[in-house]
Point group: D3
């Protein structure tokens, strides 16, 4: 059984903390890393360090939990168990489980979060959307530009995404002409609304990401509709679903290291869906009625 410090060192080699964004909070959050007696036998990978996942780690007997999202992105001055994050800390420490976070350093790694997303969608990656300036190989960076081997319609591509990404209640939202031909695909696991400009510059036909809100999505669509030119269609999946493929990829990376060192680690991937949305209901309203020529607007109070 390897020491905790050895496993942490392996994780930091895969996703160097120094490659995270400055505002990010990555690395080891909890656990007895300085204690040479601390050993690791089981490791659980997950997207979110929430109580359900920590309880799963306890049930599994895991010694180490590796998550994509930080427990405390902004600094805390308390870990009292009356807060839900403090309760996570108490559960971890009482059960001797360490927590390690690889967030934007995993986003930008080679392979990274968006490589796993592209892989899940069956896409061929050609380059990062925002390449790291210090990577001569040109493979590290935020987001990925990808190609489909055969062009398909936007509608068909959305069906493909729905069948290949892990299932969530919320499903996938699409913006654009269903018949539009799609060949070049930009992907960014997690919240991608800050990358619209580079996505457009990359000439993507569709952009797959998460957490798009009304104003950025509306402005992207207005821009796309300009006569002078384009801009991508949009696919908005569940944030969790776009990042979950990374947990399988990461577990496989650690397995390979474990084999190489003869560590005999047992790695697990959490299948708990931590997307907060638990149901989706389609609109059943007849309101507003569909536009029908001259009748596409009307006076309230008038009979409809």
């Amino acid at each position: 059984m390897p020491a905790l410090s050895e496993v942490i060192a392996a994780l930091e080699a895969l996703w160097p903390p120094g490659q995270a964004e400055q505002w990010d909070a990555v690395g080891t959050v909890c656990g007895d890393t300085g204690n040479p007696e601390a050993r690791v036998e089981r490791v659980l990978f997950a997207v979110d360090p929430v109580q359900e996942v920590v309880d799963e780690a306890v049930r599994l007997g895991a010694d180490l939990l590796v998550t994509h999202h930080p427990l405390y992105l902004r600094g805390t001055t308390t870990v009292a168990a009356s807060t839900f994050k403090g309760r996570v800390v108490h559960t971890l420490i009482r059960n001797g489980i360490a927590l390690h976070v690889a967030h934007t350093n995993a986003d930008r790694a080679d392979p990274g979060v968006s490589d796993a997303l592209a892989g899940a969608l069956g896409l061929r990656v050609t380059a990062p959307l925002v390449p790291d300036t210090d990577d001569p190989a040109g493979r590290r960076g935020l987001g990925r530009i990808c190609e489909l081997d055969e062009p398909v319609t936007l509608a068909a591509f959305a069906e493909r995404a729905a069948s290949r990404l892990p299932a969530t209640a919320a499903g996938i939202r699409v913006a654009g002409d269903p018949e539009r031909e799609v060949r070049t695909v930009a992907v960014c696991g997690g919240s991608g609304d800050s990358l619209f400009d580079v996505v457009r510059a990359a000439g993507a036909d569709v952009y797959v990401t998460a957490d798009l809100r009304h104003h950025p999505a509306s402005e992207a669509q207005q821009q796309a509709a300009m006569p002078t030119g384009g801009g991508p269609a949009l696919l908005d999946a569940a944030h969790w679903a776009t990042e979950w493929p990374w947990t399988e990829q990461a577990a496989a990376q650690l397995d390979e290291i474990s084999d190489r060192h003869g560590w005999n680690l047992r790695t697990h991937v959490s299948r708990t869906v931590t997307d907060p949305w638990t149901a989706h209901v389609a609109s059943s309203s007849a309101n507003p009625p569909p536009a029908t020529g001259a009748g596409d607007t009307d006076t309230p109070g008038a009979p409809r």
Copy 2:
């Protein structure tokens, strides 16, 4: 036919610009307001000042477009028609159509955007979520706390919302136990993630708003799941759908003023759906497989 300046004065009495948030950009954005010759016969109300809506105003022969969202929330130094917002300005001016915006001043008005949303959902409003400190009547402010006459389950309430809000492709996302009994409802038209704390303090059973992202929604759900207590279930509808009821309410308010002054205005409500999402696809993935006791996590590479 009233002068443009008279109609604008009526709109500013309904939604005083001084009651908007400091960061907001409300009031008259375009049009010949200083010209005493400028007259108004037709008025169109809409949520978004986008090209489709402006084209609708042109087709209708409207003299004035009233929208909830600002055209320029942040200041611009150009209105060149090569930008999609500049194209809106050019279309408006060439067709002699004025544009007036009532945004956070309409949110906080009595009645306001969230009153219209509550009305559409058949709820009885009891108070604002964040009351304006300078309103002795206690009716103005952001969001609304409401009561249902009869408690229903969360699932039934979600069905009600789906059948009463205007239809959108994206539908409604729900977070919480479908059997949870719902009686007190907090509503906030548009993006409401900044009001979680007051919603929780108000003891709401469910919160209806829009544009919720992974982290705020996830943290709200983690908080709600604490043994020491609650927090609301969540309903996330299309941003546009939560604000559209206000356009009908606003048109009716202006109709009433028109009748009182004998203006003979013709008011219209746009039925163009400007929610950017044009399709929704449900997940059809078998990935990750449902948790089955000990098998709820597994090792990648192992046979599944």
Copy 3:
């Protein structure tokens, strides 16, 4: 007749928007630049995009107005015609006139605003005052250092400026010994009070600029009067007058391009004086009486 987009491209080649200061707002402000049908036959050049100039463009039948000053240096959220800048926008769009601005990018160009000013004053330019670091030729940058072929007195140089710069009601203010010999001249079209330090370092005998206020001018003169050393005399002309020579230079540049492409453009230079000062009145006060030895100060209330 060239397309509007072709003419704009020519202007942007002369004065690349990327060479403007970060705080500046240059480029195309108004007009149908994305429309391939939009054509240009007449172009008017002016310093200020004010209503009188826009009315002149309408009378001329111009398709394009090019000004030095931005219409909106700070972003606006409204172009309502009740504001004087919104009235400009409405007039431009109703009359199909585009507006393009070249401000600090024209200041720093080769040739730029201060080259035109130097030319009007009959000076030989030797270098920029603040050279652009990325111009190997050393010709671009803010302000210019110049030489007179023959030294003259400050009084004579001021007379020369008064006879060569376009006439304004305000005339020219001078600070310094009228007999001082002047050979090296620093010039900066428009407000130049931020360049005092480089002007002094350049060893200029006189500095020609505009908009100098009491404190910077007073401090420059106090510094100049130090026994240990110098500093320039000052000539403060009307802001408009120091920048107007650029409009002739710019029109000639576009003429040359038009000839080269066979565009047959008709370029015009506005002769409307847009300096705000419409009259100047010389002091006729006997107050305070001239200093006369011991009597150069006195006690109020005492007979004078």
Copy 4:
């Protein structure tokens, strides 16, 4: 002979330092205020603490110099005599002369700098432009609104100003219709461009101040020219000339105090003109030629 500390106390009662703006630097700048032996016999009042004025104080044998402008508005970390302000400090200390500054506290006092300016112009003060909120009498504050007993034309009013303000080389600049009738006058000694909005709200026919630059003056004139409404004509005098009347007023105030206490002070008012501009030259250019109908613009290169 009073102690220096007694005279300073009297000055601070006239212009309490606590009533200065937060960014200002008023009070005693130099001198042996803590020394009970320090006495005052002669006091010199001036606008600017410049070397010429300090030399005048030395020649007079003054013990105290009182100026309107601070020596160091921004803090200094050196008083070395190689700087022109350090030279002032060395001259003052070597000659035993104290320096006291009353700047924005004198602007806002009752009577204040703008009262003296109004008095010099023969105007009847009705109220401050920006009243101090803590003055129940409503007399303290920035700027003054005044009335003329008989309305006069703008041209006549400008002549009056030229004959009543102390003479400077720069004279007075005027913006507006010379025949405009003037009755309500706003005055603000020194740089007044931050008060345009309150001047307009006060309904002033003309605004007398100093240091106006192109953009604020141009925008004020564009606003004044709007069909919907007015705004003042402008008179821009030398900064020094608008504040010099205060030195006479201040000397008389201290004389009165001296008489009351039997101090037998000798007060003097500096007549040194410290406006930096030493000459004015009227435009003698024929450029650009006056507008003559169709010929009001032309093509460069064409014969003129």
Copy 5:
């Protein structure tokens, strides 16, 4: 045995978290406060939440540690045990010990940290140095002004402090004339260099505080030496020593509450000296030699 939540509520009533400074981080930092099963039998009070103190709490079998200093004054994103603060968190949680902090809320309370310090020195408190504006009784606030019943010399007062404050290796530093008579004493437990101005305004003869550095202490002494007036002598004790008396006071307050409720709590006060300085060595240098008239300065290299 009371519930943890009951004891925390009692502590928050003594030192309301809302009365802490905005930058401070007080309240419960660790522990199972939301768990109704969590009980408290033993409480340890200490100044610093350092490992030695936490180990003492473990040895004692304490359920709750109450400290004056925050564990995390600035927010943390990790509690990994490889950091010394994370090691504290791990030790606390593994041993089921809660941590509660009362810092600036205890400083400003009635009685507060400086009351305990005054009591230890045998002083009679007359008022806070910086009274809380919302305390009508005038007893809450930062620091305390105190009186000695009989005036003593500064030297005698320093001896008193050395014999009454808890012993530390560093002892006490004194600045001022040893024969100066001391009657009014200002005290501020912990770092007090921000209160010099109010101490001086209060007319204190001596100021007892901690953590004074060269520049503030030097400036205070220079100010005190001005012929025009005073300012206090200074006593700089160990930071820990000035705050330790509060731990006894606080324990007695909780004992009294425990008796009132019949809780039967066992309260303890830590006697571990957590001042970081473990030794003090007096200067034994002959360098620089004492001043002896003309010889008080010399030329390096000259024989001494």
Copy 6:
């Protein structure tokens, strides 16, 4: 006798002002540097520009005072003699004494302040703690890393410091195990708490600096006590005592220059102790009693 400007030029060559920190205020603060008649015969070097030192300069007949600490680190808007710094300015100017400051430029120079400190302690300097990036020789920068020829115990090293640094009332505070072996020593004249991280990274056994406060010192000691590793012991001497060795070094440097130029300067080093602390009293308290096994904590009110 050299001109003042020549001597200043020599000082600026030794400690170039451009090598000071951006926030610092170095160079000539007072004196007639621009006057070619100003001559220098005697120069006094000292740490602090306080009144006692200036009086010493007057008594000596010095023409120039050179200090390490700035008179005005933050800018001043007054030099009135009622402030203690203004009194210094008045004394200097009345007595014709110039003041020159070399602060962080002297800290970072080669040799610099910490070289002098290392020399006083008999240490061999190996490198700066924070090397200047633009010094190819690697000798300039903040602080110094040093070696002892023979390792000694911390207790012995503290005795050495006490016997070699100039004597002050406050003496030296020590943190760490007295038996710890010390070989590598980090030194930083003046306040050194910002350099803890580089000191630790340099592997120093002890850190000699000044002005350490409770929290940084406590955190350094907690870090040093971590099982995983070290961190230095601490020696906190009087701020003045750590910088005084530089005055001797600086005087010798100027002597050498004087000899080279045949200036015949007379340089002096002030022996006035300007450390603000004038006495030290050791703790004589029996409070708290020493820990004795189980009795190391107790209940207040219980008999002791």
